[in-house]
């Protein structure tokens, strides 16, 4: 993870993606998108669209009634024998977990993959306290062994080849493994089985919290979620307050969307429902409800829908920016379009002001999002926050960028200035042009040409538009006609003048 206070330099990060990683990410995201498409087609697109709208509406309903649903959830968890803790911020959440671990003399914890746990940097805090927190999702396990970070919201090992993973196992576990996914998986199974049995505490996140009954719904494919919430005597679940849904009917809608969007499965292999404690399960169940900036997002009507997210990762898979750089460039726990959206709101635009710009605003993310978050609109809202500031944050863009944005806005609003500018570019580029390309430009434009050439300005957009569209061609004809009339008129005038002069002689 980036240093807690360091600014996330997105552009710098994008320029340090190894080509191998890029290839792996392109391949894997493409597979995921194809599988998702098949799953949606199988359900029927009409049904799918109805479900998306319903999920959007029901989650927005829940968010705008959180003041009722949170106490209802809490009461039901307590009635079922669970303990509910409230954490204002990451630090408080970490302290609650540490206190619970100490109270139970815990030295070994097994964990279920949770982005929220990365958000609050829980493993580091536990490690500092001498408690070993082991990730048990295969992908997270590999990433943790390699002291790396997840490169995708739901698929943390997107950046490794099987050869890389065999090498990590050899180096960190001392086992000689062939680069075979099945053998590697078996090795992890053996290692982690012993850990599950020895752990004194299991820590999970949660996919949904059902207010109606106080139930935590936890979804995994590998079965590690079940292991961590069944075998250790204490289970601690840390969940963001936005994960509440009203009832089990709502859950049916949400479950119908989640696995299809994530992996293209109809349902994931295991969905566990946990309501307080139970005979034969952990003796204690603790639910930590985390705010950590979420109520701030809730306050902003233009950004509130950020909190609808069910963390499916589909927006990352479909994003042309993500496909080329992977998750690490986003610099924090959340990556892809949802990372660009959520990170600046949770850690502030001062540190994450680059991220709202980490998008071409093509809109593919909004089209694929199972809960219909208008991601591009909210990104634009956040861009405004970065450059101009708003009720939530002061502007953080450097003065040069602000001046540039203002100059640009002025230039674009004056057609003659725009025309002049684009004509001048044709001449200004001459010293740098090599064939059809501008291979290198002076600063600050070199930030582009350092990584890829820029195509030469051949025509201005207006010329291009005139040449290619019916309106443009019509415009061109009118202009040509106008020019002809003008030329004729001028010719006639000249002729008359010339005659007059000639007659005088």
């Amino acid at each position: 993870m980036t240093h807690p206070l360091a600014r996330i330099d997105f552009r710098y990060n994008t320029q340090h993606v190894p080509p191998k990683v890029r290839a792996a990410i392109q391949k894997n995201t493409r597979t995921a998108i194809v599988k998702r498409g098949e799953a949606v087609a199988q359900l029927g697109v009409a049904t799918w669209e109805q479900l998306r709208q319903a999920a959007h509406d029901l989650k927005l309903h829940t968010l705008t009634h959180l003041d009722a649903y949170l106490p209802q959830l809490e009461a039901n968890v307590i009635a079922a024998g669970g303990v509910v803790h409230w954490a204002n911020d990451a630090d408080e959440a970490r302290r609650i977990v540490l206190a619970l671990a100490r109270a139970h003399n815990v030295t070994r914890i097994t964990k279920v993959k949770s982005m929220l746990s990365e958000e609050i940097e829980l493993n580091e805090a536990l490690g500092d306290a001498g408690i070993r927190a082991l990730e048990t999702d295969l992908g997270e396990y590999i990433v943790q062994l390699d002291h790396s970070r997840p490169s995708h919201p739901t698929n943390p090992t997107l950046h490794y080849t099987k050869e890389d993973i065999a090498e990590i196992f050899r180096r960190e576990l001392g086992v000689d493994a062939p680069p075979d996914p099945f053998v590697l998986t078996e090795i992890a199974r053996q290692k982690l089985r012993a850990e599950f049995l020895a752990a004194e505490m299991g820590i999970s996140g949660g996919n949904f919290l059902i207010a109606e009954t106080g139930t935590l719904a936890l979804i995994t494919n590998e079965g590690n979620g079940r292991m961590c919430t069944t075998l250790p005597p204490v289970h601690v679940a840390i969940v963001g307050i936005e994960k509440v849904i009203p009832d089990w009917n709502s859950l049916a809608v949400a479950l119908s969307l989640l696995a299809r969007s994530t992996t293209g499965q109809q349902l994931s292999a295991y969905t566990s429902f946990i309501t307080g404690t139970r005979a034969g399960g952990p003796r204690e169940f603790h639910l930590i409800l985390l705010d950590n900036g979420r109520t701030q997002i809730l306050r902003d009507p233009a950004a509130r829908e950020t909190l609808l997210c069910i963390r499916c990762g589909a927006c990352a898979n479909i994003c042309p920016v993500f496909q080329n750089i992977g998750g690490h460039a986003y610099g924090w726990a959340y990556s892809g379009p949802i990372g660009a959206l959520v990170t600046p709101q949770l850690i502030g635009t001062l540190r994450a002001g680059d991220l709202p710009f980490a998008s071409s605003l093509c809109g593919a993310c909004a089209d694929i999002c199972p809960v219909k978050i208008p991601i591009p609109q909210i990104l634009v809202h956040l861009r405004q926050r970065v450059v101009a500031g708003d009720a939530f944050a002061a502007p953080v863009a450097p003065p040069a960028m602000q001046a540039g944005a203002r100059a640009g806005a002025f230039g674009l609003s004056q057609p003659w200035l725009y025309e002049l500018g684009s004509q001048m570019l044709k001449f200004a580029q001459m010293p740098f042009a090599r064939g059809a390309w501008l291979p290198s430009l002076p600063p600050p434009a070199n930030r582009w040409t350092l990584t890829r050439p820029f195509p030469k300005f051949d025509a201005t957009f207006r010329d291009w538009f005139r040449a290619r569209t019916p309106q443009g061609r019509a415009q061109k004809q009118t202009r040509a006609l106008g020019a002809a009339v003008l030329a004729l008129g001028a010719g006639a005038l000249l002729f008359a003048l010339a005659r007059k002069l000639w007659r005088r002689k």
């Binding site: 792996a24 597979t31 029927g44 049904t47 109805q50 319903a54 509406d57 309903h61 705008t64 009634h65 959180l66 003041d67 949170l70 409230w86 204002n88 048990t136 295969l138 992908g139 590999i142 698929n155 090992t157 490794y160 099987k162 996914p181 590697l184 998986t185 109606e212 009954t213 106080g214 139930t215 494919n221 590998e222 079965g223 590690n224 079940r226 292991m227 069944t230 075998l231 307050i241 009203p246 089990w248 009917n249 049916a252 809608v253 479950l255 119908s256 992996t263 499965q265 349902l267 292999a269 295991y270 566990s272 429902f273 005979a279 034969g280 705010d291 109520t295 701030q296 809730l298 306050r299």
Partner: protein, 211 residues
């Protein structure tokens, strides 16, 4: 102020001027057409499509044969099973014992249970569309039976089939400790290659039992 009060008051402030969105009407979920037999066939096909192994058992003698086949194919030495009326009636424990399998009690030490080859459960509800089976954590229905062994066998009756996911969840809601299982445990974390059998069972059998 406690953190609880702070968070709840922040929520109130955040929503003070907000438009309170009403709860929408939720759309119907896809239902499965066809008679009872067709629905069983569809269920078994859905289970196969998520790498489950299925069999349609109609007579007690079939069940014995099926168990014998499974024990042979999967080299089962030790098993544990639910202790509920349904499995008792089907005499699963006795049949397994007769076939030479050692039976462990589900409340034995978890390390011992982790060595178990086979876990046999019933199914409280089945979703034909996705081939999912729901297991409730009731007394006699230990969750470990479907989790720790290498092989999981779930026996379900046609009466367990539900119309859609909403129907199925409505049933689980009553005691709200349950797991919904769709195929054996799996991962695609290594180069998106599907590998079956990560932490949970590696092989998942689901047999319908009529009769």
């Amino acid at each position: 102020m406690t953190s609880r009060e702070i968070i709840l008051s922040r929520v109130k402030t955040a929503l003070s001027a907000a438009h309170r969105v009403p709860m929408p009407a939720l759309p119907a979920l896809p239902q499965l057409e066809g008679d009872a037999s067709a629905r069983i066939e569809a269920t078994l096909a859905a289970i196969e499509s998520v790498s489950g192994k299925t069999r349609r058992v109609t007579r007690p003698a079939d069940l014995r044969n099926a168990l014998a086949d499974l024990i042979g194919a999967e080299k089962i030495g030790k098993a544990m099973l639910w202790d509920n009326a349904d499995l008792r009636e089907l005499r699963v424990a006795e049949t397994l014992a007769e076939l030479g399998v050692a039976i462990l009690a589900p409340d034995a030490d978890k390390r011992e249970l982790a060595q178990c080859d086979l876990g046999v459960t019933g199914a409280d509800a089945v979703l034909p569309q996705t081939g999912s089976i729901a297991l409730r954590a009731l007394p006699g229905q230990s969750e470990l039976v479907s989790l720790l062994p290498r092989v999981h066998l779930a026996l379900f009756r046609p009466a367990a089939l539900r119309a859609d996911l909403r129907d199925l969840l409505a049933q689980l809601q009553r005691d709200a400790h349950a797991v919904l299982i769709t195929g054996p445990s799996r991962t695609a974390d290594i180069e998106k290659t599907l590998a079956i059998g990560v932490h949970g069972p590696k092989v998942f059998y689901a047999w319908s039992y009529e009769g």
